[in-house]
Symmetry: C2
Subunit: 404 residues, 2 copies
């Protein structure tokens, strides 16, 4: 398996495009994205667990009942959530897209991201669709990735290539962050495409299995969005024997999918709102998987630790504190903590108590862009990783006046 150029158009038979249609005020910002498979594809999705759900999620869930879809339409700038006519608008988006693409509305995945609770007009979408469809191309992946951005500072895409039964397969994906991210059994907006042949049921199994250790282990700010969704389209054009059970081919597919999702996780966390650093909390020695995951996520979610990381301050007491209140079954007197980055590793806590370390060395380690917080619970064999980012002035700035 190797990482290749591209994103959502890397796999055979997929085209994409992204344009500015007028939902966002800034004309230089794309706000409407379309991803299209030349043939109907197996489709799988996971959704936010927030009780307040964006109208597009309800519509998409309905459309995916048969496990088949052929296109994704997504706007940014407005979440189409908590609006009285939200379902109607999301359905209208599907119908318009379907008509222009010559498919049925049932085969459309629809998504929205942006402000909650402001009516979304169908007009700019209707006006923009002809150009959006006309511009669909295999070179449109980047434009599609841009069309779903909100406060993201960078476009996020990735693709990998691998073989199943001698056939070359590809998986690619695009994602948007970057605030209101604390997925819980679902996640932010991620659209993945592959030409691998796999049944809808196995595709859903692969996706649901994967997100527990990937998108559900990211937190930017502890807020679980109303519009989180991850979808995968698998159109089978790679020509491999269709995956119908948990065999070796399925394992290869899972591994390839995981490399795409982990890559997008790191991109999303590293581009968290206002973030200057990617934080990875790597927990080992957990009594069980639940303990390891709970600790990793609690550490990544601590506002105090996130602020300390922004300041490159090796305030490891905040790591211990976050472990202590996590609710996980741990013996705090066994915990070791280290900080690691490209600049080296510094051990700061052994058996739950501080050990002498060079503050200067620690500062150098923490001044890097990617920081690993290593926690050994010394209590078993379970391991887990969670991703997050530092808490900065810019997070406050971005969210203090998001709507204007």
């Amino acid at each position: 398996m190797k990482v290749i150029e591209g994103g959502v158009c890397a796999a055979k038979g997929f085209t994409a495009n992204g344009i500015h249609c007028g939902i966002r005020k800034n004309h230089s910002k794309k706000d409407l994205t379309l991803v299209f498979s030349s043939v109907p594809a197996s489709a799988a999705a996971v959704y936010t667990t927030n009780l307040v759900k964006g109208a597009p999620l309800t519509v998409t869930k309905n459309h995916l009942q048969d496990g088949i879809a052929q296109a994704v339409i997504c706007n940014s700038g407005n979440a189409n959530t908590c609006n009285a006519n939200g379902i109607e608008i999301a359905e209208a988006m599907s119908v318009l897209a379907a008509n222009h693409l010559g498919v049925t509305p049932d085969d459309i995945i629809v998504a929205s991201t942006g402000v909650i609770g402001q009516p979304l007009s169908i007009d700019p979408i209707a006006a923009g669709l002809p150009a959006l469809v006309a511009g669909l191309s295999v070179d449109g992946g980047k434009a599609a990735a841009e069309g779903i951005m909100t406060t993201d500072t960078v476009m996020k895409e990735v693709a990998v290539e691998f073989e199943i039964g001698g056939k070359v397969c590809r998986i690619g994906g695009i994602a948007k962050g970057s605030g209101m991210i604390h997925p819980n059994m679902a996640t932010m907006l991620v659209f993945i495409t592959t030409d691998c042949a796999i049944t809808p049921a196995m595709l859903q199994k692969a996706l649901s299995g994967d997100i527990a250790n990937t998108f559900n282990m990211i937190s930017i700010d502890g807020d679980t969005s109303t519009n989180d969704m991850v979808t995968v389209l698998a159109n089978g054009l790679a020509g491999n024997e269709i995956i119908t059970e948990e065999n070796g081919d399925f394992a290869v597919f899972m591994q390839a999918l995981n490399s795409v999702t982990v890559n997008l996780c790191r991109k999303i966390a590293g581009d968290g709102e206002g973030a200057t650093k990617l934080l990875e909390c790597k927990v080992t020695g957990g009594k069980n998987m639940d303990a390891a995951k709970t600790v990793a996520k609690s550490v990544i979610c601590s506002s105090l630790l996130k602020a300390a990381m922004f300041g490159a301050d090796a305030n490891w007491g905040r790591v211990l504190c976050a472990i202590g209140y996590s609710g996980a079954d741990v013996d705090v007197n066994k915990v070791d903590v280290s900080f690691r980055s490209d600049a080296g590793q510094v051990d700061v806590c052994k058996n739950g108590a501080g050990i002498p370390f060079s503050e200067e060395e620690a500062k150098q380690v923490l001044l890097q862009k990617e920081i690993e917080i290593l926690v050994n619970l010394n209590d078993g064999e379970a391991a887990s990783v969670a991703w997050g980012c530092d808490l900065t002035y810019d997070y406050v700035k971005i969210n203090g006046d998001y709507r204007t």
Copy 2:
């Protein structure tokens, strides 16, 4: 019942003092506090639920087994937590204080607040104690309140006067915030004194009952501290018939205690690290108390909402979002939301969907120092209040480099 001047020395028989002994580098900052009752007092306490517990909590818990105490000693600048010799140091603090006061170490409540994981030297405390004890006076309440401050910007004290059986009783208290505050069945440092006569068991019952609706309903940053503790000393010098059961006198006492704790809650939340505003989320119409409390706390804890309140942005979608992911049993399609302050009230959401409102009016409401977020779940009779503050640049600044 009426609010009166003073704090921890308002009740008969209590003296206090606070000095700078040298734990904190800044000589203008007091760092050692003593509160003393002239006679042994009924004592009650609640402690953090964090598995990582400050050594002073372990020692205090041990000392309060008999329900009797006579003094509180507390240092700021160092939490004496995650230190190999923490228990030894906390015991030494008790012994030194007891010797100087002429009481037994078992009657000392000991507490510490500040940085975690840095060894605490007993030397400055030993050196400072003679002056600390010599300076005990009924006018020392403010100095005592100052001696427990860390990043607090204002000293926090309150006192009330009430009658039980014709006898005038008083309750007063001091508190320190102001970060790492997300109490969970316990709370930050709060020391309360009263001259009311009440048994240790009834005092504990009163305290434990009260905090569920007061200190446990505050959140500054979602981080549950390792050193949270609330204690009450009741020395009986008011001369009322001692409270031994849940009678009318107990109800009066509970009410007076509640007025002190709610006042301190508001002071702590309003002085959260970097805060410019006090946020009060008032939930009504809950299906049950659990739903009302869970919703109130989830709203108060949302980083996104806190940042919006800092920016005076009526982004009510974030209130809905926080209700949706709270885990509470609510029907999101019934929820009404309003913002209220001294500048008026603006209704922004009805039945889970946005309603037209004047952005200009909302801005004026949200520019005030105390903001009420009114949530009606329209699903029952349960009500709850939670307190918090906005998320600001200064929170990041304070916590980006707390140790230096």
